[in-house]
């Protein structure tokens, strides 16, 4: 019986989609849409059972309980769940297609301090990897360059677009600074022992970052037109708060050094990315209002003596300590980003309340990225970037999307992968 229904579904899809590179981006929202009857997970810790969500022209116009009035096209989502679109910070999505294929890799430019290098213009809106995010509810990402000390400038994009201009939600939102480490790996190929050893160049490396920022600041304070320096120019936004600095650091000392140096250099908004030991400096982070984008919970402890569940519980420790915390997975392959939901779910499994865990990939990340005026929660006046799942979207068994919207546009949940699935199931059905 199950097979028959599947067969029919397959036939329906098979006609439309086989052979296209990516699903065609959805047109602008043309009618008012209401989603009715679902459990709405607002993304800020609240839940509305049996909810009504109305959105028009891409914006949520009403959200409330069952007594809220419906309008326009009504989607009956009784028994289902609605979530704000999940957000993936600090990822090279759209910059790398296939890791091992060099021609498809555009994430790492030559140079140590190159904030003027911009990810947005290389963002591949037709990426099949980006497309595969959507069926899991990951609808927004920060497309981020990698490598060097200052890798470049990121932008925030939505995942259903014709081109990068279309995709941009927030252009040039921040620069990405990989803080030096006090320890470094032994260069065994030149005869040093394997293993971590003190990095003698640490202080020098820190000084060079400070020096760069001082120069950039002085450049901005002076007559900027005198000399053409694109890297100093690209740094200006960090001093007036229009750009954030995402600083990648894991160790206590590194984080403290980084925050101190950046604040002293006049940087307005600092976000720590990684933060393996952030739980040890919670008062410091709070005092300086530093949010943390922690490494994905699906990662091994760094050191043999560390708790086996260190990465599982780190976001919980920070959230409970009052730090603004989100989850990123910058060190993973891009395709893994579709597992954002399960990272949050895993943290909930360690005892963080589920709606709090949801914040790690919705409202918290939106705040950290500075897009919370439009994204990250299901609230009136915010973008209708949301999806309907048959069940709990943080659990892989029940994360099954039926509808998804980006700025009110109903996007396709099909992908290169669902097409292949259907094509081959169709083949086997026909053979029987």
């Amino acid at each position: 019986m199950k097979k028959v229904t599947l067969f029919i579904t397959l036939c329906l899809f098979a006609v439309g989609f086989i052979g296209t590179a990516q699903q065609t981006p959805a047109p602008k929202q043309s009618e008012v849409i209401t989603i009715k009857g679902a459990t709405a997970h607002i993304g800020n810790g609240n839940v509305i059972e049996n909810s009504v969500i109305v959105f028009e022209n891409g914006t949520i116009t009403a959200i409330g309980g069952s007594t809220t009035g419906t309008q326009g096209r009504v989607i009956d989502a009784t028994g289902k769940h609605v979530y704000p679109g999940f957000i993936a910070p600090t990822k090279s999505l759209g910059l790398v297609e296939v890791d091992a294929v060099r021609p498809s890799d555009d994430q790492d430019e030559l140079g140590e301090m190159i904030p003027n290098v911009r990810s947005l213009i290389a963002y591949n809106a037709e990426s099949k990897v980006v497309e595969s995010m959507r069926p899991n509810g990951v609808l927004i990402g920060q497309t981020t360059p990698n490598g060097g000390r200052i890798s470049g400038t990121s932008s925030i994009v939505q995942f259903d677009a014709w081109n990068w201009e279309d995709a941009a939600i927030k252009t040039d939102d921040g620069i990405h600074l990989h803080w030096p480490n006090t320890f470094r790996r032994g260069r065994w190929w030149v005869g040093e022992p394997r293993g971590w050893q003190p990095n003698k160049d640490y202080q020098e490396d820190v000084t060079s970052v400070r020096q760069f920022l001082l120069n950039a600041k002085a450049y901005g304070d002076g007559n900027a037109s005198e000399a053409n320096n694109e890297s100093f120019k690209a740094t200006q936004g960090v001093f007036d708060g229009s750009k954030k600095v995402f600083v990648y650091a894991h160790g206590e000392k590194e984080m403290i050094d980084a925050v101190t140096a950046l604040k002293e250099s006049g940087v307005q908004d600092v976000v720590v990315v990684g933060g393996y030991e952030a739980h040890k400096i919670i008062p410091f982070l709070k005092k300086n209002s530093i949010p943390v984008l922690v490494r994905e919970p699906h990662s091994l402890p760094y050191r043999e003596d560390d708790d086996y569940d260190h990465s599982y519980k780190l976001p919980k420790l920070l959230a409970e300590g009052g730090v603004l915390v989100g989850i990123q997975n910058e060190d993973m392959a891009n395709f893994q980003t579709r597992n954002m939901a399960f990272y949050a779910g895993h943290v909930a499994g360690q005892g963080l309340e589920k709606e709090e865990a949801l914040k790690l990939i919705t409202s918290n990340s939106a705040k950290i990225l500075g897009i919370d005026d439009r994204y990250g929660t299901l609230e009136t006046g915010k973008s209708a970037t949301l999806f309907v799942s048959e069940g709990d979207a943080l659990d892989m068994r029940t994360n099954k999307l039926t509808h998804a919207f980006i700025d009110g546009r109903e996007i396709s949940l099909e992908t290169h992968q669902t097409e292949l699935w259907k094509r081959y199931m169709d083949k086997y059905e026909r053979e029987q």
């Binding site: 296939v98 050893q197 392959a333 395709f335 029940t398």
Partner: protein, 979 residues
């Protein structure tokens, strides 16, 4: 400092002509009297005499009747010891130069002709051919007490012969080379002189050695029609002592395994960590040469840096010096070596430390004299001072294992070498010197041979420097206020307490001075301030000896899980409110309201009980994964390199995993054999490997075997077309080999062919790394041509495209849940793969190939519910009974069924849920992971780290040597790791 007096050395051979003078003979004797003579570690003669002539001991005893022509030396109060022997050095031989790289492409062929096919096998090399006596180095060893050294070229796997050299500067090579072929040497390390790729791994080195010994037997029987000078050399060296540099407790056992297999009696050069596995080391019944390069304390004064140091490394500092004692207590025969020390002068300090840690002095002396002599079968020449032995001995001020003892002379073959002047007076004490109108207090203390000074007036100190040699004292000191420098030089008369001489005043004028010795001098008190004391505490060992190791293996318990939701992975499905009884390591009963019958009852209400997870594709718990040096490496086996100390075993247990297949990597079309193990944390590799383990081998297809993603263009195959031909060629050859063998004809034993023949005969299963449909199909067709079936395709990301063909062939699929896009050949990988293969009747498992993912395979299985709508029961089977079936261990594990092994996991929640946590993980009734115990261990690790750090800090504050913090850098393997 040492100088040489050639008294009786045989400086020129009797039959050599002499033209620069006249040929004359000196047949005098030298007699040492009144000494405490340690003839051997067990025989001490007080007030004894030693008579030597022509470089040998002529007589030794309480009273020796010396001939008239004897020169007598009174050694009243002194000790005589046989000088030390170190068998494991590279003294005076040249290490070959590192081969220059030419491009990044690996080198697969040998560079030599007429020798064995592998450059790292060089039994034909003789150290004497690269030997040139190094006087400077000899002097360093003599100062450390050594008289004879074994030396060889420390390079390669089979290194050829080494020699035995006496450190006699005078005699010439004719006298000092005691044996130019004293032993043959081996190791697991490749030669630096060749870039030949094979072996790239430890298991490859082991396989190579084994094949080499088999080939030598075959060659000895005259089967080869060409000449192989390496095999000839090995055969010619048969019976020569074999010394194997293993270098660690586990490698010791690896070397011993080869030694036992071929009856070689390897003497094994250990790693200093034998104490961690002392029972197994004892059981090896091998004899050892042991380094004593105990680590210095870490500098932990910076807490940010100290966190990098693992508890294991801290323990090593605390525990390693007890290694010699542990060996001794277990009656393991061992010699000591300076190997791994930066210089021989470090030897004494380390030895003192071992003694402070309880090493018996008699054993220490034996390990430096009689044992090494006996290991080489040279007890009649060396190691003791019995009559007829070489006159190789040390003259000391006292007990040689006392820190304050001075080594005066080191005699080698009757040649005297002065280390410290024997008749130099001990001037340590307090003196007063009057100079420039002031009286200075001078304290002389420290080493009697090299004393140091302290100059004061009242409480004011004056920086000073003291030189003392040949009974002349030079003392200078500075008045820091006036910057005035005073310099004195004086001689110490033999029979006086004071010394006097010339004083150079700051203004340049000279005057006489006398240093007057004061009463109550330090010389009178025994100076034991810097005496090595034993450790304040030795922290206990765990198994493995790292954080989260266990003091003892968990006990097997009879347990009743009461009222659980039981996921049987059988037709019985999921049973609510059910009891499971575990007895004697087996599942004894499943049912409702079972009687406990003395078993420990665990209330599992609200919890889920499942069979332990089985990971078909893992690379944890291994020291090597790829033998990438050849396109086939069927001769290697991961069983040789299982690492029971990998913390990831523990972490996997915490994720509910109980069994794994450690697969060889995917560097070559025919990879190595697998190890299938249970994660019995705290036990050794043998205990972990399944009894009667099903036999598996890894094959691989696609980008990795054709080396697409790195710079290598010289190894066949470079295309998928070539991959098929590799299989055709090897299987054809294996078929011929097997047929020839079965027909009773003699064959050259070939491990690789033996293994491939097992596949043809259906005795060994293939798990094949595979991605795209063409290659999957190809291998099935190759197998069918040779009339066998592929057992498992692993990864198999395009399996969904040929699932019908796979079902027909009868091969299983072990796949990732959702990986793709990491390389070109996984472009069409889809997360629906497992569901599609499953729907077509393929036995499907979800695997990890990743140390992180393996600890949440329950979640990976759950993804098949999302992608493709697999039922929860079926999904759960994909990480339990299905992989068990694929591994042919389903009769023992993989489901909850009466009679099966009690490999069970108790989950806090629905096991497929992202919210579930493994609370207890049990293997055969032993709980190897327990959430509560884990919590306790965290606290214990913290407090033990703190304790050891305090001890290291006090070592630092006490002036002990420290080194900067270091952190382990664990190597994580996946298929593609070339190591």
């Amino acid at each position: 400092m040492a100088f040489f007096v050639g008294i009786f050395s045989a400086s020129a051979q009797e039959y050599f002509p002499k033209n620069d003078g006249l040929k004359e003979k000196n047949t005098n004797y030298t007699l040492f009297t009144n000494a405490t003579i340690h003839v051997s570690p067990t025989q001490v003669i007080r007030k004894g005499s030693l008579l030597i002539k022509d470089g040998k001991v002529a007589e030794v005893g309480r009273s020796v009747s010396a001939p008239e022509n004897s020169l007598a030396i009174d050694l009243e109060g002194k000790h005589i010891y046989p000088s030390f022997i170190d068998l494991y050095t590279d003294f005076s031989v040249e290490k070959p130069k590192r081969a220059e790289g030419s491009g990044r492409s690996p080198v697969y062929e040998s560079t030599r002709e007429g020798f064995y096919w592998n450059d790292h096998i060089m039994p034909e090399k003789d150290a004497i051919n690269s030997y040139e006596y190094d006087k400077k180095s000899a002097d360093e060893y003599r100062k450390a007490g050594f008289g004879v050294l074994g030396t060889h070229v420390m390079d390669g796997i089979a290194r050829g012969s080494g020699m035995l050299v006496a450190l006699n500067d005078e005699g010439g090579d004719a006298a000092r080379i005691l044996d130019d072929r004293a032993a043959q040497f081996f190791s697991f390390e490749k030669s630096r002189a060749s870039r030949q790729s094979y072996p790239t791994s430890l298991m490859g080195a082991m396989a190579l050695l084994r094949q080499f010994y088999w080939d030598a037997e075959w060659y000895a029987e005259g089967n080869s029609d060409s000449k192989d000078r390496s095999l000839e050399a090995l055969n010619a060296n048969k019976g020569m002592v074999s010394i194997f540099e293993a270098g660690s407790k586990d490698n010791n056992l690896r070397a011993d395994k080869i030694s036992d297999q071929f009856n070689l009696n390897y003497i094994i050069v250990g790693g200093g960590d034998e104490y961690e596995w002392i029972d197994k080391i004892k059981a090896s019944n091998a004899k050892y040469i042991i380094p004593i390069n105990f680590p210095d304390a870490y500098d932990v004064s910076n807490p940010y840096a100290a966190k990098y140091i693992s508890l294991a490394d801290m323990r090593e500092w605390n525990q390693a010096p007890m290694n010699p004692k542990a060996l001794d207590e277990n009656d393991i025969t061992f010699a000591l070596t300076t190997f791994e020390l930066k210089k021989p002068s470090e030897f004494k300090d380390k030895l003192m430390k071992a003694i402070a840690y309880g090493l018996n002095k008699e054993t220490a002396l034996a390990a430096l004299t009689t044992v090494p002599a006996a290991l080489l079968g040279k007890s009649n020449e060396l190691g003791s001072l019995e009559k007829g032995r070489y006159a190789n001995f040390l003259i000391t001020s006292g007990d040689i294992f006392d820190k304050s003892t001075t080594l005066f002379e080191n005699w080698v073959q009757g040649t005297k070498n002065v280390i410290n002047t024997l008749d130099q007076k001990d001037i340590r004490g307090n003196y007063k010197i009057t100079a420039g109108g002031k009286t200075y207090d001078v304290a002389i203390s420290g080493d009697a041979a090299k004393p140091s000074s302290e100059v004061k007036i009242g409480e004011t100190s004056y920086p000073s420097k003291l030189d003392y040699s040949d009974n002349w004292v030079s003392l200078s000191f500075t008045d820091e206020k006036t910057k005035e420098v005073f310099r004195t030089t004086g001689i110490v008369p033999k029979d006086e307490q004071n010394f006097s001489g010339r004083l150079l005043l700051p203004d340049g004028s000279e005057t006489e001075f006398t240093a007057t010795r004061q009463k109550g001098s330090t010389e009178d008190k025994k100076d034991d301030a810097d005496e090595d004391e034993g450790p304040s505490e030795i922290v206990p060992l765990t198994y493995p000896n790292i954080g989260y190791g266990y003091a003892t293996t968990p006990k097997q318990q009879n347990v009743l899980f009461r009222n659980a939701t039981v996921w049987t992975s059988e037709d019985a499905g999921v049973l609510e409110g059910t009891d499971v009884l575990v007895k004697n390591g087996k599942i004894a009963a499943i049912g409702k309201n079972l009687g406990a019958g003395g078993a420990k009852v665990i209330d599992a209400t609200g919890k889920h009980l499942t069979a332990g997870i089985i990971d078909e594709h893992s690379h944890i718990a291994a020291l090597a994964i790829n033998e990438a040096g050849h396109n086939s490496s069927a001769e290697v086996t991961i069983e040789d390199v299982v690492d029971p100390e990998d913390i990831n075993i523990y972490r996997n247990l915490a994720g509910g995993v109980t069994s794994i297949q450690i697969l060889h990597g995917s560097a070559n079309p025919i990879g190595g054999r697998s190890a299938i193990i249970k994660l019995k944390w705290s036990e050794d590799a043998d205990a972990m490997i399944y009894d009667n383990s099903p036999k598996f081998i890894k094959f691989a297809l696609g980008e990795n075997v054709k080396q697409s993603n790195w710079q290598s263009y010289s190894r066949f195959p470079q295309t998928r077309m070539g991959v098929e031909q590799v299989y055709m060629n090897y299987f054809t050859r294996a078929k011929e080999y097997d047929a020839k063998k079965k027909s009773g004809q003699p064959v050259r034993y070939d491990e690789e062919m033996e293994v491939l023949a097992e596949i043809l005969n259906g005795e060994r299963y293939i798990s094949c790394h595979s991605y795209v449909q063409s290659e999957i199909n190809m291998l099935m067709k190759v197998a069918e041509k040779f009339d066998f079936r592929v057992n498992t395709f692993t990864h198999i990301l395009e399996g969904y495209k040929v699932a019908d063909k796979m079902a027909e062939h009868g091969v299983g699929g072990s796949t990732f849940s959702d990986w793709w896009a990491y390389k070109f050949e996984v472009n069409d990988a889809i997360p629906y793969n497992a569901a599609i293969m499953n729907s077509q009747g393929v036995t499907v498992a979800i695997n990890s190939d990743d140390a992180e993912m393996s600890r949440r395979l329950n979640q990976e299985a759950a993804k098949t519910v999302k992608y493709g709508g697999v039922s929860e029961e079926e999904a759960w089977k994909m990480v339990t009974i299905n992989p068990a079936k694929l591994l042919h261990i389903d009769a023992r594990v993989g489901s909850i069924k009466e009679g099966k092994d009690a490999d069970l996991v108790l989950w806090s929640d629905h096991p497929l849920s992202v919210y579930a946590k493994a609370e207890k993980t049990m293997i055969e009734g032993r709980t190897y992971f327990d959430l509560e115990k884990d919590n306790d261990m965290r606290t214990k690790i913290d407090s033990e780290r703190n304790k050891l750090m305090k001890m290291m800090l006090s070592e630092k504050n006490g002036g002990g040597k420290t080194r900067p913090p270091r952190g382990k850098d664990k190597q994580y393997f996946e298929c593609e790791t070339i190591n």
